[in-house]
């Protein structure tokens, strides 16, 4: 499958983490740990670090980019981001991280209807926007 590249970055492999509700990075993700901190979020307590993070939507604060920049510089960022639609507030974190000389995860756009296939899968994300699915049977 091929997705539109929103922000070019590093190719990556990682387990998909498909969020089932929109999230606000600020207040919703702890920048010191990479854990989902929003107690009302269905994936509360789950780590986004090193995952291919699939976001059905983003909400809330305009500080999302700062949290994402902090995650990138602390080595706690997702391996890649897959967004239903481009979100300038969040993706600015990647653009600024590049200005600051960090290697950044790739951000892709894909319809959230496709996310269902990613549940429990390992994904390989190419810097050209390619998405390769390998089921995790026996691995977890």
């Amino acid at each position: 499958m091929k997705a539109e590249v929103l922000v070019a970055g590093q190719p990556a492999e990682g387990h998909a983490l498909v969020l089932t509700a929109p999230i606000s990075f600020w207040g919703g993700v702890n920048p010191m740990t990479g854990l989902i901190a929003d107690v009302r979020h269905p994936q509360h307590g789950v780590s986004i670090s090193g995952k291919v993070l699939c976001l059905p939507g983003t909400i809330g604060s305009s500080s999302a980019a700062a949290v994402l920049l902090e995650l990138v510089s602390a080595g706690l960022a997702p391996a890649a981001l897959v967004l239903h639609e481009p979100d300038a507030i969040l993706l600015l974190g990647l653009i600024v991280a590049q200005e600051m000389g960090h290697a950044t995860p790739t951000a892709l756009r894909l319809d959230r209807a496709e996310f269902g296939e990613f549940v429990d899968a390992k994904l390989a994300i190419g810097s050209d926007g390619s998405v390769l699915i390998s089921p995790l049977a026996g691995e977890i």
Partner: protein, 418 residues
Amino acid sequence: MALALSAGQQAIANGAHGEGAAMAMRIVAATARLMGAPSLIPIASAHIDGALYHGDSGTLFAEQLVLGGGKVAVRATLNVGSLDLTGCSKNRLPSHEHGMARRMMDAYRTLGCEPSWTCAPYQAGHRPALGSDVAWGESNAVVFCNSVLGARTNRYGDFLDIACAISGFAPYYGLHRPENRRATVVFDVSGLDPAFLGSEVAWPILGSLYGREIGDAVGVVAGIAAHPGEDALKAFGAASASAGAVGLFHVAGVTPEAPDLATALHHQPPEAVIKVTAEMIADSRRRLSTALDMDRIDAVAIGSPHLSIAEFDRLEALIGKRRLKVTLYACTGRHTLAVLEKNGRRKVLEASGVVIVADTCVVVTPILPDIAGAVLMTNSGKFAHYAPGNTGYGVIYGSMAECVESAVLGRPVFEAAA
């Protein structure tokens, strides 16, 4: 459509105004490409949310702009920082974080931003004109600026806000375009009890519901008989923008781009109509509270967005001559603090057990005592949304009157249900 930069904009990106301005212009242009904007437009002002410390990288970013000789090209007010520089309140940030937060606040001042340190700049003298293009950050300020003032801004996040302020330009897309300001969803509250609509908690509860229902669409609230007052719209916007990605709402007959419902809809049929029911309101109210233990409170916090002087008038009237058993944190900006200082009002409030928090607030920096299983009572839809994740406190939601009574008695008390 590919982004077209003017010769002047390209020159700034190439370093004509120094490396700070070049970095700012590159960030603005990269965002414009990401969002499919065909061009950049000049902006009249900015409100900067970026000076709140989330980690060292944000401080280093601001210092990189300073090092490159960056200066804001337009009026730029500052949102809250992580420190109360007025000394009204103390926070528990460890010394490294405290130092980096201070460096960050200093860097933004060096870039030429005004030390307003408030999330309610629109009540601190920064009110852009109807129809003007601006670049504002802080979700509640964005929604107020668009909806109540009728100026045009997207939801500018950290970094992009200051990049726009320094370059003087913003990507032309989203809510800068008049056609995108049309309401597509009607949020009809005409079926609700007028007694509820007139109550103190109506607007934060409605805002929270509106944000969840509407997401990032533009909606129009229909069925409001009279202007509810600026502080009510402030509370509605803040709650809606923390529960959803709301950037602009209209209230038919109240907000400037909605003299009536048809105008807000740009004379087109709506894509959806949400008939708000009493059950939806009850559910929305329940969702604002998270505390498992409804019999204790460890702190009360009000002032998200920052309290206006009218809200302090109300707070003082509710407290009267009584003393509070539980600390009430009243968050505000230094523009309001200056008024409170004039007639000794600050001292009277503090003597009754109020802690005034200026320049910052209790959900963005550790001011509340670290108590296991602690419970915070608040009248703010926005505090209710963010306190559990950011402070570890469970939340009990109540009106300002209920918050004050509870602080006086030292346990949660609620008015008889209307």
